[in-house]
Symmetry: C2
Subunit: 339 residues, 2 copies
DNA sequence: CAATATTATCGTAACGTTTCGCTTGACAGC
DNA sequence: GCTGTCAAGCGAAACGTTACGATAATATTG
């Protein structure tokens, strides 16, 4: 009984009494085939439980119907949500997804790209790592690539990102609207475009409110929980500490919360805090955490759609790449309050 | 400049003045080739920036060096951690990962399996959905499949899972050790083996402590946050409510926490709570949440290792499949206290 | 009814590798 | 110098598809 069902188009053709071309025609509906024959072919196919070999097809057609997705760290809850958006859209369009994790390491990212190209993926969705050199590698091939979330040093690429400048502004304006004037920010890693842009949005909002940004209220650097703890203590230990803190990602926010806990400060009475990215558990903290949410599913879905479009309709070399901006959404809970 | 670097083995062979067989031999180190020629071939390869075509190779060799991974919901934080373990191990062994999300839907799961088989993956790692019929589909092929996290109705498959019976027991014994006697459990979905097994472990521990399990303390059914809220209220509204609650997954736990919040009950003074799965933010809640952690990275890594072994060394039909159990780990924080 | 247009189907040559049997040339033994 | 051995390298045939030109069968026209 353990026969391996490994039939080829030839077997189907023989059983149906037609040529392989006809079987192929039936499968791909590429040319019209008479109803009686079509019937026979379909019957033969299901009798043998025949599945076309995607590998052979790819070799012949030059298209793999697969795309690559590279993210720097899939355990960062942001990416699975994006990936799900990509996956669902890809699946609906008949594409498979090759997933790669670069561990925020340039060399690994490059290896993944090489492997994906070697597998002849039809396109790539890339959340590049810090100091990525991916653009150089991509320039040598002729495969469409969409950058998501993060932009490479040269921003001249197709991209789908949250409008982080607007997001930073939105966050700051929320706090300003609540009467805060002394606002601190854990700005994250300036080599990462989202952090860079959020800071720019923050600056813009403060400028428009004619408020200065004190140097000591701005802490940039790393992005882990411990970094948040340290920076939180630094801000809260100042002679005149800020009345509100903006944390540029969720790990920094957790760090701030820990510092707050350790100093027995009460949120939102003594301090308002606000983070970027919004996850299920944010609303289950007490108090619930106010956050600027990214529409992760949309980023995923739209980046696939853009990629798909590029695959079907390759751009000429002189068309400028598209930048798609996804709006961010303020979700007000109880960690921010009137000053 | 926009030349597409699309060279084949023939181009390399021509440039190096050898036959394609020799190029192939150099690449695969399959047969020995003289140093001078090897040198010439390597030079030609790098001169043309040649990359072997994985598709053509697969067609010829019958091996794709790719595996499929299917999970029911990649936004459930458990799976990304597992996937990362798989990804890293796979990458190290030269395999690529095709990721699929079944949305907990049997039909989608089946479609994904079909697509993976059609792509001739060398193996599959599968966290199957409720009432999965995957086993039937797999039986017809001859491709190794490892079930992870969840077992299908017929448990006669290769699997890598947390030892959930032990985990349930561990959780219950921790509470019993703290002096709790009235322990409630949100047992989750009995059609899912982890939940089923955790309940069994809980039962075992209670039995060994010679304590009864009251019917009204046991709530099984769904697994979402809202289900947790409702069940939490039901337990806490009892004339004699439990002094401790076990939640069989993290969403149910969040639900319980919400119910607790709404009833102004204090953890751990009035109630101890304990969940399964442990995530970054668990320790940042106040109080920090005690949990039985699964070693997600290990599950991923070991499932790939087992799969790899099966790929290289296909089992004969009469060898019984292996079940690998990964231990769980109790992480004590402040949501559980002495009664 | 011959000549032509229209289908429906088929045979065959790729796609870029790997594999395997065969040739070639060098060299040792007699 | 002749044969026999042995490496090293080569040519050609696959792997399972698709696509294209050719062909056979049928329908349409003057």
């Amino acid at each position: 009984m353990a026969e391996r069902a490994k039939y080829t188009m030839r077997d189907v053709a023989r059983l149906a009494g037609v040529s392989t071309s006809t079987v192929s025609a039936v499968i791909n509906e590429s040319v019209v085939v008479s109803p009686k024959r079509k019937e026979r072919v379909l019957a033969a196919m299901s009798a043998l439980d025949y599945q076309p070999d995607a590998i052979a097809r790819s070799l012949k057609t030059g298209r793999s119907n697969a795309i690559g997705v590279i993210v720097p760290d899939i355990t960062n809850a942001f990416y699975p949500e994006v990936i799900r958006g990509v996956e669902v859209a890809a699946q609906a369009a008949g594409y498979s997804v090759l997933l790669c994790d670069s561990s925020e390491d340039r060399a690994i990212e490059e290896r993944h790209l090489t492997a994906l190209f070697s597998r002849r993926v039809d396109g790539v969705i890339l959340a590049c790592c810090v100091n990525s050199r991916a653009t150089e590698q991509i320039a040598r091939r002729n495969i469409p690539v969409i950058f998501i979330d993060r932009l490479p040093p040269s921003r001249a690429v197709y991209s789908v990102c949250t409008d982080n400048v607007a997001a930073g502004q939105l966050a700051a304006e929320h706090l300003l609207g609540l009467g805060h004037k002394r606002i601190g920010m854990l700005a994250g890693h300036m080599g990462l475009s989202p952090h860079h842009d959020r800071l720019e949005g923050f600056r813009k909002a403060m400028q428009e409110a004619h408020l200065p940004i004190l140097d000591e209220y701005l802490i940039a650097g790393n992005v882990q929980v411990e970094d948040g703890v340290e920076a939180g203590h630094r801000l809260l230990g100042l002679p005149t500490p800020p009345t509100a803190i903006l944390a540029s990602n969720n790990k920094l926010l957790l760090g701030v919360l820990q510092a707050v806990e350790e100093r027995n400060i009460s949120i939102p009475k003594d301090l308002s805090v606000l983070g970027f990215d919004d996850y299920l558990w944010n609303m289950h903290f007490s108090p619930g955490l106010t956050a600027v949410a990214q529409l992760t599913g949309d980023i995923g879905r739209k980046s696939f759609e853009l990629l798909h479009q590029l695959i079907q309709n390759p751009p000429t070399d002189d068309t400028a790449p598209t930048h798609m901006l996804i709006p961010a959404e303020l979700r007000i809970r109880n960690s921010t309050a009137r000053r």
